[in-house]
């Protein structure tokens, strides 16, 4: 018994996005509904036809606000996914499962966030982050009192351990930052479109949390994105060619502890390794069949770790994998072709999903020739999710 596969039951038919900037005037609510409207227009689907919604628990614009603004129909499925940036691909997966199960017909996933001009979450202070009964208690009790305050500090600890185990150097992190920046330089919508990055620029950047410097960190962005999902049957009548959802997975690995994950047995391998295992079980494709990848890049080392965890190279082999330019545009496996979170926009990875769609439509500003399969991943180091998108029905 192979079980029921999601494969090709659903498709992404519309995408929409706001401008990306350090500061946008409209509210998060207005940015959200503008992006959703753009995605529906892209799909050629009326707002009244939408009956499913999915977003992040961190999303401030609620389903009722979205439905009231846009005049959506009766919503018969709605879900929110926790753990910050781990949720992005999960929203598409939840909508796909609801549609495949016959619960709903047209779903919208969105994320709107003014992280560029708004409050830094960690600035509330160690005590302020303590939400009783939540996993935040763990960080507020066992990490923040010692000065491990920001996500970058937590990832810096993991990175130093990763470098110790693999021999990775700052040059390898720089290769990730520069490869992705070069993609942003080809993308007029990217916040870093006009700014090139040399190895000297990288090496001379200020420390944020050693061994991570400024250019190892994603951007702080105001922006919103939306994605429309429907059945492959309904997709045939849409304005745009469908991009098929080949497979989807989520994972909370055993004994995982949110983002401060030093207490799991294998903090570097988990949780993407568990997500990857579930994803490759769903798909008939193998890593070598993937033409282009959009990897969650809140921090450069996560790209190296994800390349290993999703099986593009062996454990500890990512530094060697990227040395020859494999992840650059034109390389064996181009990564984050829009500029990703590091150089296009950081909106909890929703722009990685829309870039995956653009690649499958043949419309990326760094288009991979003849690409037919794209892996998209969500947050590494947190309970996560991933998708494989394809341009052709199998």
């Amino acid at each position: 018994m192979g079980g029921v596969r999601l494969g090709f039951t659903t498709a992404i038919v519309g995408i929409g996005q706001s401008e990306f900037s350090k500061h946008l005037e409209p509210t998060e609510e207005e940015l959200a509904v503008r992006a959703i409207l753009a995605a529906l227009e892209d799909a050629g689907i009326e707002a009244s036809e939408v009956d499913a919604l999915s977003s992040f628990t961190m999303e401030a614009t609620e389903e009722v606000a979205v439905a009231k603004n846009l005049g959506l129909g009766d919503i018969t499925f709605f879900s929110k996914i926790g753990y910050g940036g781990g949720g992005g691909c999960g929203t598409i997966g939840h909508l796909s499962l609801a549609i495949a199960g016959g619960v709903s017909h047209v779903g919208v996933a969105w994320r709107s966030r003014k992280r560029g001009s708004g409050v830094r979450p960690w600035a509330a202070g160690p005590g302020g982050l303590r939400i009783p009964g939540s996993e935040q208690v763990t960080a507020a009790t066992w990490a923040r009192p010692f000065g491990l305050l920001r996500p970058v500090d937590e990832i810096a600890v993991l990175t130093r351990r990763y470098m110790h185990e693999t021999g990775a150097t700052r040059e390898h992190l720089a290769e990730v930052a520069m490869s992705i920046r070069a993609n942003a330089n080809r993308n007029p919508a990217a916040m870093m479109h006009d700014r090139s990055m040399s190895l000297d620029d990288y090496m001379n950047a200020r420390w944020i949390s050693e061994p991570l410097c400024l250019f190892d960190n994603c951007l702080e962005t105001d922006g919103a994105l939306a994605v429309v999902v429907t059945s492959t049957e309904r997709a045939k009548d849409c304005r745009r060619a469908p991009v098929f959802v080949d497979s989807f997975a989520q994972a909370i690995p055993q004994q995982h502890h949110h983002m401060v994950n030093f207490w799991a047995e294998d903090p570097i391998g988990a949780p993407a390794r568990a997500c990857a295992a579930a994803l490759w079980r769903q798909s008939e494709l193998r890593p070598e069949d993937i033409d282009v990848v959009q990897i969650y890049d809140a921090f450069t080392p996560l790209v190296l770790i994800s390349l290993e965890n999703y099986g593009f190279c062996g454990r500890g082999e990512a530094p060697g994998f990227v040395e020859g330019g494999a992840i650059r545009y034109g390389g064996k496996l181009p990564v984050n072709t829009s500029g990703g979170g590091l150089s296009e926009a950081y909106v909890h990875g929703m722009n990685l999903i829309t870039e995956g769609v653009k690649q499958m439509r043949g419309e990326s500003t760094s288009q991979v020739v003849d690409a037919t399969a794209c892996l998209v991943t969500s947050g590494e180091g947190v309970p996560t999710s991933a998708l494989i998108l394809r341009s052709e029905e199998c």
Partner: protein, 145 residues
């Protein structure tokens, strides 16, 4: 800084900090199967027992990894930056890892030991002082050998 939070007020975490106040490092252990678990929680994930005790540890461990944060940081931490925050694996069970600061002596500045003196795998020993927020915690000094 928000001053309202103390982990000593939470029955699940208080025994760790009460032990630190007495100069002891104690970790939650299952009284049924004996395994240590951290962070503390009501149920043993291996045998499902709800009974636990706080077992005294030697206070010796090794540096698993560390970060060196630089500003922008909360004001009280920015004053000390750059400082080392380490993850320590305990000698008794290397899967028990504690986040902590490496100091020269009890309640010394968290920025006093430069990262150049630290290596992954180096031995450390617990001493007991106060966190920046003022509650009792283990701190770590580099071991002699």
């Amino acid at each position: 800084m928000t001053a309202t939070f103390s982990p000593m007020e939470d029955p699940e975490t208080a025994p760790f900090f009460e032990a630190a106040q007495r100069g002891e490092l104690r970790i939650q252990a299952c009284t049924n199967c004996g395994r240590l678990r951290f962070p503390p929680r009501p149920m043993c994930p291996w045998c499902h027992s709800l009974d636990s005790e706080w077992q005294r540890q030697s206070g010796r461990g090794r540096i698993w990894s560390f970060a060196v944060p630089h500003p922008p940081l909360l004001p009280t931490f920015a004053e000390e930056a750059p400082y080392v925050v380490a993850v320590i694996e305990l000698d008794e069970d290397p899967l028990i890892r504690l986040v902590g600061n490496v100091v020269r002596e009890v309640d010394g500045s968290i920025g006093a030991v430069p990262s150049s003196e630290l290596t992954i795998g180096a031995g450390v020993t617990a001493v007991f002082g106060k966190s920046i927020e003022g509650f009792p915690v283990p701190q770590w000094v580099m071991s002699e050998d």
